[in-house]
Amino acid sequence: MLQILGAILVIFSSTALGIAGKQKLSKRTKILGEWICAIDFITAEIEQNHTPIPDILNMLSKQDNSSLKPIFIEMLQRINMQHELSFSYHWHTTIRDLAFSLGMEYEEIETLRNTASYLGRYQAEMQISGLLHTRSRLVSIQTSAVQALQNKGNVYRMCGIAAGIITVLMIV
């Protein structure tokens, strides 16, 4: 009886590891999609309404069901608490500090951090061309991430299940 329970536990835990690997990939594609939407939102607000950046951040921090909400809330808090530091610095450091916990990886983090060099600093046309470049970079990263999810996602899950079964067989 104990052997059966142990075997089930081993299979379940390795399956869970495999599924977690897949979820990590799917979380990354989701967050990349949300960043692309946020960049589109910022672009539209700058282009159409000339909305000040703090107001745009405020709107983004109030969007429900967005995984990016904590980033914008934290960014606004930092701006209000340390207003002597530049906006570029706050954008840069907030993304650096929170991105990994949200499932982002080095490539997209760097792309977004580079946005700080022009966001809010130049006139609308220059910022928009920068934002479009950032968007296209994010789209290409997202495309690779989706491919990785399709190729590796199921492999991770199957490997997890297989590893569990093999471990049980070896123990038995």
């Binding site: 000339h50 000040p52 530049s86 809010g120 600093r121 006139q123 609308a124």
Partner: protein, 296 residues
């Protein structure tokens, strides 16, 4: 802390921490009128009509870009109309003048691309500076005269005009200000940061449009506007004058002859709008008010 020191520090808020730190330690902050920042050059502050070098720190182009974005609340795009005119209004009525490579669209300046220098003008309030002018402002029947204040830039036209508005308004006369650059009243959330009197209404809009709007909506006894600069301004004040509304205005000129030499102002003089013309003379840190025409 004295009011003028507070205003100086408030103006310095848009600067980068390094530059602000150099400035807030100068002894002359109470008499400082402008801060001059040029790419590749040290910081200069203006007092007593002279530029004084402050330390050895060299201002970089990146510093200037950062100051501009700070002044614009990190939203340079939201102030593009102002930047196209070469300045940015700051909280407290201060003003950041901008120089650099202009972006031209359809023959007009639509922005400034690479900033080469900035001029932070510190707005000051001198309550009572129009005292000596007050006996000349009213006709015998109590009706206010149309007033024109002349002086070269940075001689205190706006400060004098503001105090004149305050004193006349406090006498119970309804004044409306067309404050295009936000320097007369310096509205913050609708509240004037300068004392402009109790019976004063303010609109922040292009002067010509603002004058017509005020006439329609606020029924003012006097309309005040700083710096007549375009034919449209002239048309608007002529129209207002013909509607029986008094005008308080200012213009860039040394004296009446200088005024008549300029096409726009010579047109204005032909219209015979102003009852009293005043000029301002600057001697180091003091100003002398001369009544050129129309005193008692």
């Amino acid at each position: 802390m004295k009011e003028r020191t507070k205003r100086f520090i408030q103006a310095c808020d848009c600067l980068t921490p390094q530059i602000k730190n150099i400035l807030i330690h100068i002894k002359e902050c109470e008499i400082c009128e402008e801060i001059r920042l040029r790419a590749g050059k040290p910081i200069y502050a203006v007092w007593n009509d002279t530029e004084h070098k402050l330390g050895e720190y060299i201002v970089t182009q990146n510093n200037l870009q950062e100051i501009l974005s700070r002044a614009a609340r990190y939203s340079v795009h939201s102030y593009s109309e102002y930047i196209a005119q070469g300045f940015l209004p700051l909280d407290g009525g201060h003003r950041l003048g901008i120089c650099g490579t202009a972006v031209i669209n359809n023959g007009k300046i639509s922005g400034i691309r690479t900033i080469s220098s900035l001029n932070l003008r510190i707005a000051q309030e001198y309550i009572g500076c129009a005292d000596s002018l007050m006996p000349h402002i009213f006709f015998k029947n109590g009706r206010p005269k149309n007033v024109l204040i002349l002086s070269p830039p940075a001689h205190g036209k706006t400060t004098l005009l503001r105090d004149l508005i305050r004193q006349v308004s406090n006498k119970g006369i309804r004044i409306s200000i067309a404050d295009e650059r936000g320097e007369l009243a310096a509205l913050n959330n609708g509240v004037a940061q300068f004392d402009i009197g109790i019976h004063t209404d303010v609109i922040e809009a292009p002067k010509a449009e603002a004058v017509l709007l005020l006439l329609k909506t606020m029924s003012p006894k006097i309309i005040a506007l700083d710096e007549i600069t375009s034919p449209n301004d002239l048309k608007a004040i002529d129209y207002a004058g013909n509607c029986g509304v008094g005008i308080f205005a200012s213009a860039h000129a040394i004296n009446i002859d200088d005024l008549k030499n300029r096409p726009l102002y010579s047109e204005m003089m032909k219209l015979n709008i102003f009852d009293i013309i005043i000029s301002l003379e600057k001697h180091e840190n003091t100003r002398k008010i001369n009544i050129l025409q129309g005193g008692i």
